[in-house]
């Protein structure tokens, strides 16, 4: 007889299987991580329905056009580059200002008092698990409320960097071979401290904003997010 846990897993995996067979996107999240093997096997089997699928013509056209846009550093006007850089810089400065404005988050939800606290909606600490679960220098993606972060252990402390590129709002991916955060939208990368790795054809970008992070007395990592 299946226990409750197996029953829940079977429901979760069936939901994914149903979506896959209906041709829908994978709707999965960290709560599904314990069933990742089964979910990935389901995706592989669903992907075997078409032995050698070709890119649909409409997608091929969209891709071609995205590639043309993606070669922006070569074709982008200086003005556009400056405006984009400025916008990113303004975003980063605003983020930094917000970070300074953020009150020292309490272990309990922030009160409804006046002053600064009123301007910051629902700041709270999000539990990211025990410090012992983090490997030295290896970024782990974590969602702190509405903000995506990469948490990087540095000895007994942890650094939290925004997971979004400071150029365009694209989610960065950690590349272990290059030890860098790579932007899927453009040829842009950031090092493990959040600073841009400059390339000859690139243009300067602000570093990745940081979030407040703390390690509690019981050894839990907590990140402050909205």
């Amino acid at each position: 007889m299946p226990d409750d846990r197996e029953q829940q897993s079977s429901e979760r995996v069936e939901r994914v299987a149903r979506d896959l067979m209906a041709g829908k996107r994978l709707k999965i999240g960290p709560a599904d991580a314990s069933d990742r093997g089964a979910i990935m096997a389901a995706a592989a089997l669903a992907g075997a329905r078409e032995p050698f699928p070709r890119m649909p013509p409409a997608f091929r056209r969209r891709l071609q056009s995205a590639l043309e846009r993606g070669r922006e550093p070569g074709v982008m006007s200086r003005r556009t580059a400056l405006v984009a850089g400025l916008a990113a810089a303004v975003g980063a400065v605003t983020g930094a200002a917000m970070a300074r404005l953020m009150p020292e988050p309490a272990a309990h939800p922030v009160g409804r008092g006046g002053g600064i606290q009123n301007r910051i909606p629902a700041v709270r600490w999000y539990d990211a698990g025990p410090l012992s679960a983090f490997k030295e220098g290896l970024p782990v993606r974590f969602q702190a409320g509405a903000v995506g972060t990469y948490l990087i252990r540095r000895g007994e402390s942890v650094k939290a960097l925004s997971s979004v590129c400071t150029h365009l709002p694209c989610e960065l991916a950690w590349g272990a071979e290059t030890s860098s955060f790579n932007c899927p939208c453009h040829n842009v990368a950031f090092d493990g401290d959040g600073f841009q790795i400059t390339t000859p054809e690139g243009y300067p970008l602000p570093p990745l904003p940081q979030l407040d992070v703390r390690v509690t007395a019981s050894g839990r990592v907590e990140v402050a997010g909205p």
Partner: protein, 170 residues
Amino acid sequence: MIEFPAADVPAAQIALEELDLIYAFIYARVGNRADAEDLTQQVALKAIPRLRAEAAAASIRAYLFATARSVLAGFWAHRFGLPEEELREDVAPPAQHPPPGPRAESGAAATRATRILEALPANYRRVLELRFLRGYSLKEVAAETGSTVGGIKVMQLRALRAAAKVETDA
């Protein structure tokens, strides 16, 4: 079928031709067109601007596959909230890629599925074949096998876990 491009075709053009292969590779791992399109686009945008104009077709393919593996690992890691390193080997063993040519890759997903299914006990294999390869609903699988929907749901989970193990052990 993709043909090998002529040697003097610029790297970006060769890469564009190769993207069909990358799309098939990704589709075989995410199982749906929408995610496969998004991820193929990420591979293209990430890899193509970095190619050297004079790069050979084989090295372009190797670079595209390396990028595809990294993008796929990022996709699963991001969704599951896990470190990429933990998923990299699950995504695609590096020894198998890049394949020697498009013809060898063609049908690879079906071959892989067959290999997985053949390694499973008969009852697990039957459930997964009906559900995923023939597109039966849970209810239809239950009717076909004389079981209950609840029973099949749990058996599907166990069969998929066993399938995942076959992949890991391969």
